[in-house]
């Protein structure tokens, strides 16, 4: 843990979690510190799905924060990950997004690596015709890209640069583990991938995911079609670290009679709006607990989504202070019937960059980023539902957003 608060480039007013200095979304020093203290620190970064590494030699290139990473399955069936950075001059080792390979070779000077990230070959190591070559003292075993620890949970592959990060089960905690198991209880397969470039700091997207307060206010589609109302049965779970959360709800006919929305005269409650082709919402019962929506996040940048039958994982990657890359991986179960798969494809209209209920999320972070220009010495108010980070049955709360800042400040030593 770092405790050098004096060196922090932003000022937090008090120890609380209800005032967030706007400078955290634009300060370059803070962004650099986040890479070291969070993404290369004591966290588990989501890397990919096990389903994306089906065979020995299957690999994907991905990122832990901004650090490029290769994830690969070896002949022993185990998954390994290492920095995608040649030990020689630092060039990328693997250039493709995915593929199959017996080993990896940097194109620059042909230094090669095995699937576990060990440096195994140096071109012209002994020189050519007795000339040149590496010094006799050069030891390949002592050089190589940094390796990540790997933890796999329910088919999700996480990696960490830290020797001290707790086991993945301990990191997630029982409640989050159970909520992941609930969705990823059988083999999945990828049905599509899309990347959304967001014009804002990565933390604004993560906060948005955790913010159950905005969902039915910003997203008319959600509210009108009764996918998610704050008056529905449901709740917010915040784990003890604050960094992970689950927001969930279930269709509850009694709650639909609730007048709380009409009383607010909200723009988002519009009875006149009906679909001509309601098949986009026609799902099938898939889980015994009646939960029709579950959004789950793992600190720092992983999201698992179940919206009716539309399943996806999202990876949030910082790209400088004011850019974020959001990688969507849509999934189905390997044993889906063609009809079930069709339902997932149709419901995917709800999410992603053109999603009826999520296209706004791509824009609101940018609205904040633009809105806070010139206000680095001001702060956001995160006080809905008080100042605690506890789980609750109500969702008109920012408890899980405060939880994010609790975890963030602990990792950052702020």
């Amino acid at each position: 843990m770092h405790n050098d608060i004096q060196s922090q480039p932003v000022h937090w007013s008090g120890p609380g979690l209800t005032r967030i200095p706007f400078a955290v979304y634009s300060d370059p020093q803070l962004a650099a510190d986040e890479q070291a203290r969070i993404f290369r620190g004591e966290v588990w970064n989501y890397l990919c799905l096990e389903a994306e590494l089906p065979d020995a030699g299957s690999y994907r290139t991905t990122f832990a924060g901004e650090t490029p990473v290769v994830v690969v399955r070896d002949d022993d069936g185990e998954i390994y990950a290492f920095e995608n950075r040649c030990a020689h001059r630092g060039a990328l080792i693997a250039l493709e997004k995915s593929g199959r390979s017996d080993n990896f070779q940097c194109v620059y000077h042909a230094w090669s690596y095995n699937r576990q990230g060990d440096l195994t070959g140096v071109a012209f190591e002994k020189g050519v015709k007795g000339q040149g070559g590496m010094p006799a003292s050069f030891c390949k075993e002592a050089h190589g890209p940094r390796k990540l620890r790997i933890a796999s949970f329910c088919g999700l592959v996480f990696g960490s640069f830290s020797e001290n990060v707790p086991s993945i089960e301990e990191y997630l905690g029982d409640e989050i583990c159970q909520r992941i198991e609930r969705v990823l209880h059988k083999p999945v397969e990828v049905i599509g991938r899309f990347t959304q470039a967001l014009p804002n700091n990565w933390k604004l997207y993560v906060e948005n995911v955790k913010d159950s307060y905005h969902a039915s206010l910003l997203h008319l589609f959600f509210t009108t079609f009764e996918l998610n109302r704050l008056s529905q049965k449901g709740g917010v779970i915040v784990d003890g670290s604050g960094g992970h959360h689950v927001s969930y709800s279930m269709i509850d006919t009694a709650a639909e009679k609730d007048a709380s929305y009409r009383e607010q005269a909200l723009r988002s409650d519009n009875d006149r709006y009906r679909l001509k082709d309601p098949s986009v919402l026609a799902g099938f019962k898939e889980y015994d607990d009646g939960v029709t929506l579950q959004i789950l996040s793992v600190f720092p940048g992983f999201v698992l989504q179940q919206i009716q039958n539309c399943l996806a994982v999202r990876q949030v990657l910082p790209r400088g202070t004011t850019r974020t890359e959001l990688n969507w991986t849509y999934i189905g179960y390997a044993d889906d019937t063609p009809e079930q798969r069709k339902v997932r494809l149709k419901q995917s209209n709800l999410v992603g960059p053109a999603g009826f209920i999520s296209m706004e999320d791509g824009a609101v972070g940018g609205f904040v980023q633009r809105g806070i220009a010139g206000a680095a010495d001001h702060e956001a108010i995160v006080e809905m539902g008080g100042d605690a980070t506890a789980s609750s049955e109500g969702r008109a709360t920012e408890a899980s957003v405060r939880g994010f800042w609790k975890a963030y400040r602990r990792h950052m030593g702020a």
Binding site: K97, V190, R193, F194, K276, R341, G362, A363
Partner: protein
Amino acid sequence: MIDLLALCAFNAAYADTIDSDALEQWPGFFTEECHYRITHIENEREGLAAGIVYADSRAMLEDRIAALREANIYERQRYRHLLGMPRLQNAQAESAEARTPFIVARIMATGQTEVFATGVYQDRFVRQEGQLRLQSRVAVCDSTVIDTLLALPL
């Protein structure tokens, strides 16, 4: 026989409809049962079926326009489509298949114009009541990245 000129005229009208904000007319370019999908080249290569937009009826396209007009929140923006020459792959009296490259610039509320998408339409046209209509249009984008959000159709 459906010919190149007919497809060019169809595409010109299609693009102009979107670019001039006559979005309510856009679903009319499709047959009642149709397939419209926006994806990218990597999903297409791997045979991954999901789309950024995925519709299998004209009514779903109408719903999308209604949602854009009434429900979704996005900054004012418009497109300028530039469509290339269709490459006719199969032409019959009542149907045709073609690939047409596109480039779409997006003009934002700020006044800025940027290239938003390039790619190719993979189309199947049919003639219905004397009118050409799209039975299937898959917009395969070259980039795997969408900037901020995709509101208007491609």
